[in-house]
């Protein structure tokens, strides 16, 4: 029994129906606990005051925004190489979720920036790369919607995802070259990367990150099911019309 058999749309629907309740419940629990803990149960940071609470939204969203694109890239490759419909539709289903995650990261970052840097927006490399990612999401979704034939749309968007990824990486280097950073990132005391974060902030943050990851997963599974149903409807309709 190979994993690929779940690339059959009907099998996928059956499987997803079984795992979805658990997935949604887990996502709700982790997100809820992480955010509530972060919001109610952590002290203010010495330097940043209560704004540090924004981190429980900002960092998980930023993480998922990047991971969603990465997942779309993998799914696109699977579609191009093995032509499994579920894979293409999963990529399609993930894009709007990634877009919203990007938007949340941008908005919370902007709101955070106002008290910390005195400006909503700065052309810092990290922020700028995120904006570019946002554009790639927009273009990707627009292309899916503009192409009528679903398989052609899957092909074209897959290639766009590939080429776009290359250019996104290129842009990241170009942007770094263009403007050296402002985003405090690892330099601020709560930076997570090197685990220098005080444990009080760290554990709820991890919870929230897991929660956002599970939420992403649940959303993508559900939305993939929706896409499969839409394809099945149009396939049936097309045949009924042909029969007539």
């Amino acid at each position: 029994m190979s994993l690929w058999q779940y690339a059959n749309p009907v099998k996928f629907l059956a499987l997803s129906a079984r795992v979805q309740p658990a997935l949604w419940a887990l996502a709700a629990v982790f997100t809820g606990v992480g955010l509530l803990w972060g919001f109610f149960g952590t002290p203010d940071d010495a330097r940043q005051g209560s704004t540090v609470k924004i981190i429980y939204l900002h960092v998980p969203a930023a993480l998922m925004a990047i991971n969603a694109w990465f997942m779309m890239l993998v799914a696109s490759l699977i579609w191009l190489i093995r032509r499994h419909h579920v894979s293409a539709l999963a990529a399609k289903a993930a894009a709007p979720v990634g877009l919203v995650m990007t938007l949340i990261a941008l908005v919370t970052g902007a709101i955070w920036g106002q008290p910390m840097w005195g400006t909503w927006w700065a052309w810092d490399p990290r922020l700028t790369s995120f904006l570019i990612l946002f554009l790639f999401y927009l273009g990707y979704i627009a292309l899916w919607q503009a192409v009528e034939d679903p398989d052609t749309a899957a092909d074209l968007t897959s290639v766009l995802c590939l080429v776009g990824s290359v250019f996104a990486v290129l842009s990241r280097y170009a942007v770094q070259f263009w403007n050296q950073g402002l985003h405090q990132g690892t330099s601020i005391p709560v930076a997570t990367g090197n685990r220098s974060v005080a444990d009080v902030f760290f554990y709820p943050l991890v919870m929230a990150m897991l929660g956002f990851g599970l939420l992403f997963l649940a959303l993508v599974v559900y939305r993939t099911g929706t896409e499969i149903r839409l394809r099945r409807t149009s396939a049936l309709r097309a045949r009924m019309n042909r029969g007539a």
């Binding site: 902007a110 400006t119 909503w120 927006w121 700065a122 052309w123 700028t128 904006l131 554009l135 927009l138 273009g139 627009a142 919607q145 503009a146 192409v147 009528e148 263009w178 403007n179």
Partner: protein, 218 residues
């Protein structure tokens, strides 16, 4: 008339219909400005109102060539000409549909982009007002341009060329309102001019557009 408006809106909203693309273009043009002039906040702040107006104008411009050319290509423009609709009214309706699907989203998005370009705080309101007043003029003038170039294969770029100079007065007054507003100066004179210009253009241009269209298709 209502049927035409609904059809145009519906076509714009259908897949591939181009709704939101003007907006996306606006976003991208404004984003590219810091990449090209550099990221210094002060410089960006100084040019922000102008860049936003210019971006809105270009986004408007680019969506113009679908206004009539699509209808010409599939033959529905000729059929509309033989239909019992006054051509002036039909063109005014088409301009309205264009504004609703392009101009209005631009107006609503402009403040967000203003933040990215460090637009000074009082500037936002003035930017919004000037765009809300000015973009209808852009749509109507654009309809005239589209009518002028309708017979020409892939007239898109020619259209831009013809329409851009016609956009200059609107741009000058509109950007002036936004600039003065952002600098905290009195912006009522250019605002009045802008309003007057828009009114005049909306009242008269559909007639010019209809005349030109009749000539072009003869």
């Amino acid at each position: 008339m209502r049927a035409l408006l609904l059809r145009d809106l519906r076509l714009a909203l259908r897949a591939g219909g181009g709704f939101g693309l003007g907006l996306a273009f606006f976003l991208i043009v404004v984003m590219l400005v810091p990449f090209s002039v550099g990221p210094e906040a002060q410089l960006l702040q100084a040019i922000a109102p102008g860049v936003l107006w210019l971006g809105a104008l270009l986004a408007c411009l680019l969506s113009l060539d679908r206004l009539l050319a699509l209808d010409l290509e599939d033959g529905s423009l000729e059929l509309l000409l033989t239909a019992p609709l006054p051509l002036e009214g039909a063109l005014a309706v088409k301009a309205l549909a264009h504004w609703l699907t392009t101009g209005l989203p631009l107006v609503l998005a402009a403040p967000f982009l203003g933040v990215m370009l460090q637009l000074a705080a009082p500037g936002h309101l003035w930017l919004l007002i000037s765009l809300a007043l000015g973009t209808p003029a852009l749509s109507v003038i654009g309809t005239f341009g589209a009518a002028l170039t309708v017979g020409i294969k892939r007239g898109g770029l020619l259209l831009s060329l013809l329409v851009l100079p016609l956009y200059i007065p609107t741009l000058i007054f509109g950007a002036e309102v936004a600039r003065r507003g952002a600098a905290g100066l009195d912006a009522s004179t250019p605002l009045l001019m802008l309003a007057g210009l828009t009114l005049a253009v909306v009242a008269l241009m559909p007639f010019a557009a209809a005349a030109v269209l009749r000539m072009g298709l003869r």
